[in-house]
């Protein structure tokens, strides 16, 4: 018998280098959230290799599904729907989650909910605390830097986005210059905490009257600085370089977020995506918010929910279900450059 009180969503996420399957109850309670990360594999190559990632996903997807179902202690007849990330991401990786989700949805006659990965990152917050609309979301990851106003459930308004590189991507690229292995974010963060902002890199677009970001100029300035020093035979302090880079990134992220909050009154600010793990960003955001917008609740999910995971996909899917967003049919395909809006 279907338990109508209990909405249970089986969710799949495989957009990049993590295979994850979760069961979410009523959109906010995590019954299971299995995450298999391939990071050690890709570290061998200095970055995510798409074909290797796809192969690992095939190895992992069934095992993760089994564990997710077992840990949640649910059966197929208990499920309300199956949800899956269909973009943005690497096409070969996305397809594995999609194939598995379609097979289970078809075999058990369950609706299939197609979820945008970014919507997932945003709704990770719903797993922490109830959300009140409208709320602001800053999505920062290896592939995305976006300021999104969520006016109503599943109603997104893109206020600003990067015009070139994502923040996380800039971290990885300057990490290479500093000789830091992929993924560089954590180590640059740690290094930055030991150094000083002495190089005064540009704060791109901070003074411009919009909510867009740009990190390509910062990346070039960083590379030029190191390049010039090399030509002169000088060695620059890596800690100060990292600190200066991180200060510029977080100044811009925090500055633009504050501007967005000033223009759009909200009660909550959600920070989502892998770069939300960055200590420098967390500190600056917390401090600035306390001074400028003390009434706004800052929601930064714990590390496990900042990175890619299926629990967040289940949370977003629940919102889609509640708002009667269309289901996918069996022809659902991966959309590598899917936009949120």
């Amino acid at each position: 018998m279907i338990n109508k009180q209990r909405e249970l969503i089986l969710a799949f996420e495989s957009s990049c280098d993590e295979t994850s399957v979760a069961v979410i109850e009523n959109g906010h309670r995590i019954l299971s959230n299995i995450i298999a990360t391939q990071i050690k594999s890709h570290q061998r190559f200095g970055g995510v290799v798409p074909e290797v990632a796809s192969r690992h996903h095939v190895e992992q997807v069934l095992n993760c599904t089994k564990l997710a179902m077992a840990e949640a202690e649910v059966d197929y007849e208990d499920l309300t729907a199956v949800a899956v990330t269909y973009g943005p991401g690497l096409v070969g990786s996305l397809l594995i989650g999609i194939c598995a989700a379609k097979a289970i949805s078809f075999a058990h006659h369950l609706p299939l909910i197609p979820v945008n990965h970014l919507a997932g990152h945003i709704y990770a917050a719903q797993l922490i605390t109830p959300l009140s609309y409208p709320f602001m979301a800053l999505v920062v990851s290896g592939g995305h830097t976006e300021l999104v106003l969520v006016n109503e459930p599943n109603e997104y308004q893109l206020l600003g986005e990067t015009r070139d590189d994502a923040a996380g991507e800039a971290y990885d690229k300057i990490g290479r210059v500093l000789g830091i292995t992929y993924p560089a974010g954590k180590e640059v963060d740690a290094l930055a905490h030991q150094g000083q902002d002495t190089f005064n890199f540009p704060r791109a677009m901070l003074d411009e009257d919009n909510l867009d970001f740009s990190f390509s100029g910062l990346k070039s300035a960083f590379i030029n600085t190191v390049h010039h020093a090399d030509q002169l035979g000088e060695t620059l302090d890596r800690k100060d370089l990292a600190a200066s880079f991180q200060a510029s990134v977080s100044d811009v992220l925090v500055g633009k977020t504050m501007r967005a909050l000033a223009e759009h009154p909200v009660k909550q600010l959600v920070v989502a995506g892998g770069v939300a793990a960055n200590q420098g960003l967390r500190e600056k955001l917390t401090a600035t918010l306390a001074i400028e917008q003390p009434a706004i609740e800052l929601i930064i999910p714990p590390l496990r929910l900042c990175g890619d995971n299926a629990a967040m996909i289940g949370a977003a899917a629940s919102v889609q279900l509640a708002t009667k967003a269309p289901f996918a049919d069996l022809s659902l395909n991966a959309v590598p450059s899917l936009d949120l809006v």
Partner: protein, 244 residues
């Protein structure tokens, strides 16, 4: 005994519902490689045409490679998820063995099924049908076309039957290089994997024992791993993926 068979190893797609060896419904396309879009709807349609439900299926057969990496991943992921969630066995067959089926009446002939892998390379097999049973003469391999010629020349058999979709230019190459032999090339629907006949390929075979670790037969490591292994000859490990 109802069987669901599928193959998306290369450009063609083939899905069939088979009842005791007799195909009840077959979906066949050879238009493009967009199998992620077409496979599940084809399965649903084949079941509908066969007038059976997915729950009624007793077993699955999947062509698990070699072939297009994405194509074989789609078929294998779909098949193993279906098999597990429905609690039914799945049989893995070689995508090359599947291409020998049109020649199964040619007792004892040397059959060379090929799947184009670009740059004059092929995924190539070497098989023989005898008394209704398929025998593998040499392991499926990724070979340059000259290597394929060399291997065929080592076999005394005069009559060579090529399976799979091979361009006219490639056919000419093989005919010229193997002038001492008589080359027969599949044509029309003979070039396609016909899932409706896949029951023939699992005679005396066991189903996949470990679904978790059931992965496609790629036959090739990724270039990334080949290069890395060349530099780190003693460091290969199986523990690159970990649960967190």
């Amino acid at each position: 005994m109802l069987t669901l068979a599928l193959d998306t190893s290369a450009i063609p797609l083939s899905v069939a519902v088979i009842n005791d060896g007799q195909p009840l419904a077959t979906i066949q396309t050879s238009r493009q490689k967009n199998h992620s879009v077409t496979l599940m709807p084809a399965i649903a349609e084949a079941l509908k045409l066969a007038q059976v439900t997915i729950e009624a299926i007793d077993q699955l057969i999947v062509a698990a490679g070699p072939g297009s990496y994405t194509g074989v991943r789609i078929a294998v992921t779909t098949a193993k998820t279906l098999a597990w969630t429905l609690n039914k066995p799945v049989y893995a067959v070689s995508s090359l063995a599947a291409l020998t089926l049109p020649w199964r009446q040619n007792e004892g002939a040397l059959i060379i099924p090929l799947i184009d892998a670009r740059r004059n390379h092929f995924f190539a097999g070497c098989y023989q049908w005898q008394a209704g049973q398929l025998h593998q003469i040499a392991s499926d391999a990724y070979l340059d076309r000259t290597e394929i010629v060399d291997q065929i020349k080592q076999n005394a058999t005069k009559q060579i039957f090529f399976g799979g979709q091979i361009t006219v230019e490639q056919q000419t190459f093989f005919t010229e290089q193997l002038s001492e032999k008589t080359c027969h090339f599949a044509s029309g629907s003979e070039t396609l994997p016909l899932a409706g006949e896949f029951s023939q390929l699992i005679i005396n075979q066991e189903p996949v024992a470990d679904l978790d670790h059931f992965v496609p037969t790629y036959l090739r490591k990724t270039e990334a791993e080949v290069n890395w292994l060349a530099q780190h000859p003693h460091e290969e490990s199986d523990h690159y993926v970990e649960q967190v």
